[in-house]
Every structure is written in C-alpha cells, then in structure tokens.
Symmetry: C2
Subunit: 358 residues, 2 copies
C-alpha cells in the first residue's frame, strides 16, 4: 500500500518482555495468581507510601486543566537531588520518551547513531523509525567499553550504564574520556544506575555534549507511571524542549514522581534490599553452574553452561516463572533474570535446581 514512509513500512515494532497478564479481555488488573514475573526488570517492592498519598491528593482541577508543561515541581526536586539547577532537568514520559527525542534531535540519514552491543534492544528500533544509520561496536566478553566507539563520527553515541542486559558498569572516568573524544552527543542511559555505586551526573558540568537519562521505573518502583528525566546543560535542555511534546507528562504523574524522588529514605532502603537479593541470586546461580558476572543493576545475565538457555526458559514458563530470553547471537546462551523478592528468587532457584537435575 505504501501510506507510510519506507523505513517505517520495513520497521518491526519493539518487542516488550512478555506480559503474562494483560493478554486477554479479563485482565484489566495486571495480576495472575502464582506467576513469578522476572522478565522486565521491574522493582519487586512497591513504591513509597508517599506516592499513594500524592495520588490520593489529586483533585478535579488538576485533571481539568492542562498540566505544567515542564513539570516544575519534579524539576526542582530532581535538580536538588542531583546538585544542579532546575534548568538542567527535563521531565519525560518514561526514559523511552527521551530516547526517542534524542534520535529526533540528533539523527537522520546523514547523522548516524553509535552504541556498543549487545545493549537495550529499543535503540535499533528507534534508529529505524528515525531512518538513521547505526554503528554497533561489539563489546568484548567482559563488556569493557570498546575503544572504537570514540571514533565512529556518529552524531549520537549511546552508552547504557549499567548496561542492559549484561548488568556491567563502565567507570565514570572512561565515559568522561569518551565524552571528550566523540564528535557528537553522548547519551548515558542511566536507567539502572540506582543500583550502581557511582553515576555520571558530574559529567554534565564538564561536557556540553553529555545527556544523562534517568528513570523512575526501576529504583523508584514506578514502571506503571511512565516517568523519567534528562540531566544536561541548559542549552542542551532548551534544544530538547523543541522536540518534546508540549505536555508530555501528566499532572498525576508529576505529583507522584515528585513524591517518590523526595522520599530518599524509602528509596535507599528499597534499593538496598534489591542489591542484597541480587548478590544472593548471583552467588546461588553460580553454585548451580551458571556463569554470572557481578551485576550493578536489578537483574543478572546468567550464562547457561549445561543446558540450552531456550530449554531452561521453556521449562521455567511451564512452572509459571518468566525470565527474559533473547534469541540472538551473543545472548542466546544466556537468560536475563530480574531480581525479585526473596520469596520469588527462592522459587526461581528451586525451579532451576529441579530443571538442571533432570
């Protein structure tokens, strides 16, 4: 037919992790008894009680009127937390909203994107939609930053740090060098940084080409709310504002995300629980014979030595346990497993033990 642009006609939509719950008409509430869902890197613990209070405090007027187009309340809270001014922050409808914006802002047929691979599988999908060339530079086995990434000449370089799906972390100094060397913009996708020991926010002060992406989905348990933010110099934020939808974040989301980011005590306790479970899962998977690197995120990438990853995946599904299997080279011998609650992790580990013993 051809109503769409050719690159769109050829594009395949992003494949989100299987949602075992929203499939049929009877599943408005995303819940199903007995399912252990460790496939989309959600936080296993609920968001701060302050979030529920903020939502309960929403009134009709806030819904009737257009929201604050820049989410000033959240901007101020995020700025304070990150030691910058509010003009260095832009609110986004989830981190994915910012990812789309940077492709729109920096890339086209003559302005390629570059990133190390394997990484977040949304990047190539957005590149296809924006019709820009992609330079994928392969990580080594240890997921070190590839030296060649600095030399691609790309208009936009993306580094997911901690990286998904490896959970590995590249040192801040290495990314500072990269920011200095690349000719275009460096987006550091810190969606999982809440679980790491360091972050790159300091780089935005030294480099006018650095954008930091943050998400409220992981550390703050708000995947359902769609809220993320950018940190960058005000000139960069002003440019991104031009490609932002006029009212990209809604009034309830602004209020809820602001309440969440202000409750740092709850946030830190939540993150510590996830990190402790992550450590335990890593150790126990190792004892079961999986090859597991130390993770700086809320998931682990488990190399399957004695049994094909796809087979383990299927057998887990039979037991109502969902993890993520990527059917592509470099990843098809591994499973990405989100860190769940202690109880969920126990179920997973017991199931794996049973599967491998057969």
């Amino acid at each position: 037919m051809g109503y769409f642009r050719e690159n769109i006609e050829r594009a395949k939509p992003y494949e989100a992790g299987f949602q075992p719950v929203s499939a049929g008409p009877s599943h408005d509430r995303p819940r199903r008894a007995g399912v252990v869902k460790l496939n989309t890197n959600e936080n296993p613990y609920p968001p701060s009680p302050k979030v529920m209070e903020a939502i309960a405090g929403i009134d009709c007027e806030q819904l009737r009127r257009y929201p604050d187009p820049v989410g000033s309340a959240f901007r101020r809270a995020a700025a304070e937390l990150n030691g910058v001014e509010p003009g260095w922050i832009m609110c986004c409808n989830g981190g994915d909203d910012l990812l789309r914006m940077v492709f729109t802002g920096f890339c086209d047929r003559r302005r390629p994107v570059a990133y190390p691979a394997p990484t977040y599988s949304l990047y190539p999908v957005l590149a296809k939609v924006q019709n820009c060339k992609v330079t994928e530079v392969a990580f080594d086995e240890e997921f070190n930053l590839p030296a060649k990434l600095a030399q691609t000449g790309a208009a936009l370089t993306i580094v997911c740090n901690p990286n998904a799906p490896s959970g590995t972390f590249i040192a801040v100094e290495e990314l500072a060098s990269l920011a200095d060397e690349v000719s275009g913009v460096l987006l550091i996708d810190e969606a999982y940084v809440d679980f790491a020991q360091a972050n790159c926010v300091g780089l935005v002060k030294d480099f006018d080409n650095v954008i930091i992406l943050r998400s409220m989905s992981k550390g703050y348990s708000l995947a359902g709310l769609r809220f993320g933010y950018a940190i960058a110099r005000p000139e960069m934020i002003a440019g991104l504002m031009k490609v932002k939808d006029s009212y990209n974040v809604d009034a309830i989301a602004i209020a809820a995300a602001t309440a969440a980011i202000k409750d740092q005590k709850y946030f830190k306790e939540n993150v510590e629980k996830v990190k402790a479970e992550c450590k335990r899962v890593t150790t126990e998977l190792g004892e079961l014979g999986f090859g597991v690197r130390v993770s700086f995120a809320n998931f682990v990438l488990a190399g399957c030595m004695n049994c094909p990853a796809s087979e383990i995946y299927d057998k887990l599904v039979e037991r109502n346990i969902y993890v993520r299997f990527f059917n592509k080279g470099g990843l098809d011998d591994k499973l990405r497993i989100t860190v769940g609650t202690g109880e969920q992790n126990d179920k997973l580990l017991a199931a794996l033990k049973e599967i491998l013993s057969k």
Copy 2:
C-alpha cells in the same frame, strides 16, 4: 554549536497558551484566586466522579509494573462507543502524541504535509521537527473547505474539525470526498468534536487512508491527564504502533480515561452545559458588537470591530481574565475565547462591556 540537526536548531518551540499559574516556584497547584482562565480551551466543569473513583482505586502493583502497552481496557470502551473493534483504536498520550506519530509515520523531506489555515498552531511546529515541507491552503472568510486541498499531493493532509481557532465545522460528506481525492493519508483532528452534532468516525470504514483523532481533554475535562486516541482501520493502527513509544500511556491514565469514557451520562450532561453557554456567549458577544460565527466547539472566535483585539486582550489581562490572542495575519483582529462556567462568562462579558464603553 550544532549538535542538533539543522531543522531542529532553526525550529521554535510550540507556544502553549499562557498559564497564569504554573509560572513560579510557589505554584505547584495550578490555581490562583480570581483568575478567569479562558485561553486554552479547557472544559470549565470537573471530570466525572467515576474518574476520581478510578484514581482512588489504583494500587501499588499497577505502579510497580509496566502498564498494558496498548491500554486494552480503554481500547475496548472506546471501540464500543464508536461502533468498531478494539483493533481499530490506539491510545495516545494526549492527541498531540498522535499528531507527532503521523508526522513521523508519513512525512519527510520528500513527503509533505498539507492543511487548511489558519488552524491548530502545533502542525507547523511538528512539520519543522520532522523536516517536511508544508502546503498551507488558505480558508476563505467562511472557513469552507478549500477545494485545492485535495490536489496538493501531500503524504499527509490534516483537517481540524471542528477547526481551531474558528470553531467552524465541515460536513462529513465533504471530508468523505476529500478522503477519496487525496493521494496520501487524511487525518481528521476531532479534538473538539464532542461539541459538534456529527463526526467522521463512519469514514474509517470506507477509507483505508483516514485516521480520526480524539481527545479526552475537552469534552471529558481531562486535559491534565494527557489522553487521546486514534480510530482507523487495523492495518493503519498496526503501522502507527511501530512509531508509538512502547508504553506511551500510563496505568493511572488508562484507568481514569476508561472510567471517563464509560460514563456517557455525565459526559453528555457536561457537554450540553458547555454548548448552552457557548450559544449564550455567542449571542451576547454579538450584541456587544463582536463578529462571532456559530461555533461547534467549546470556544468562540470573536472578531473585534471597534477596538484592536490586542488592546482588548491587554485590558482583560489587567482584570485577571485570560483569553487567546494570535499575533498573526488573519487572526490579529480576533480573540479566541474559551467557554467558561456561567459565572466566568458573566465576568468576561461584563469586563468587555466596560472596556468597550470607554
């Protein structure tokens, strides 16, 4: 500097109607005593009580998990209301989200957009971001559909119906003919259709190139929530899904918008109140000497005969009354006035009377 694409560097951001309330740090709650805000076409009445119930019913699990990527609950409700199947509906983060998607999907340097003008001032902003040519075809004085619009050869033709800022309505049969004649896609932006007597949903059954845009901001009083939807044939929806952000609508918004669209009784009463006030405001503005065409939306475009529109605008601001003044040819002798509550309209009319008597 030049990190951004040239078309983005040159672009100016969309200018939203002045928000007299979210300007300063002390205004998290968008409210200011005494302000009569008739400048951004918000509904003056609150949303359905069912919306507040739905929000109160949100639980932690819905926030912790990713939302349903296609908003199935809303899709079903909107499909039922419009007499189509759920596969003919796509949920959007406000109507603007869909507008951006159609530019991304259909337009580029060799694939222009066309629309009659004056119309919604976001269209040229989105065209600049997408770097596509624009063919503006001028409306006549009566805002009739320009015959030339069918002959532009554009990849995307947009008709806002009822049109903003004129409030005029083009008959369904005329748009059917246009759908038949254009070579590309016809997007009918029905953001204001809740206040009209007819709509174009029937056309999606006959034409595979028609997309209908609907908004929950106006008739359903949910501008703060950011929710809109597309109606089109499933093949068209499937294509649009490729350019949609993976999770573009959040869990709370899905629940709240679904509750709103299901409460048709409240919706109809609300709309009737606005329509009655619109009629009264139109009559009384006419008696004050303004040139006002019958409006099929929740605003009127008032031609200022005896006093410059900009002067009236300024004098209204002095009285804490905000309407919309567009400082451009064809509109700079008019004011666009949102229909408020009876009380707000009384204040506006009294102020105008006073201003004009001086």
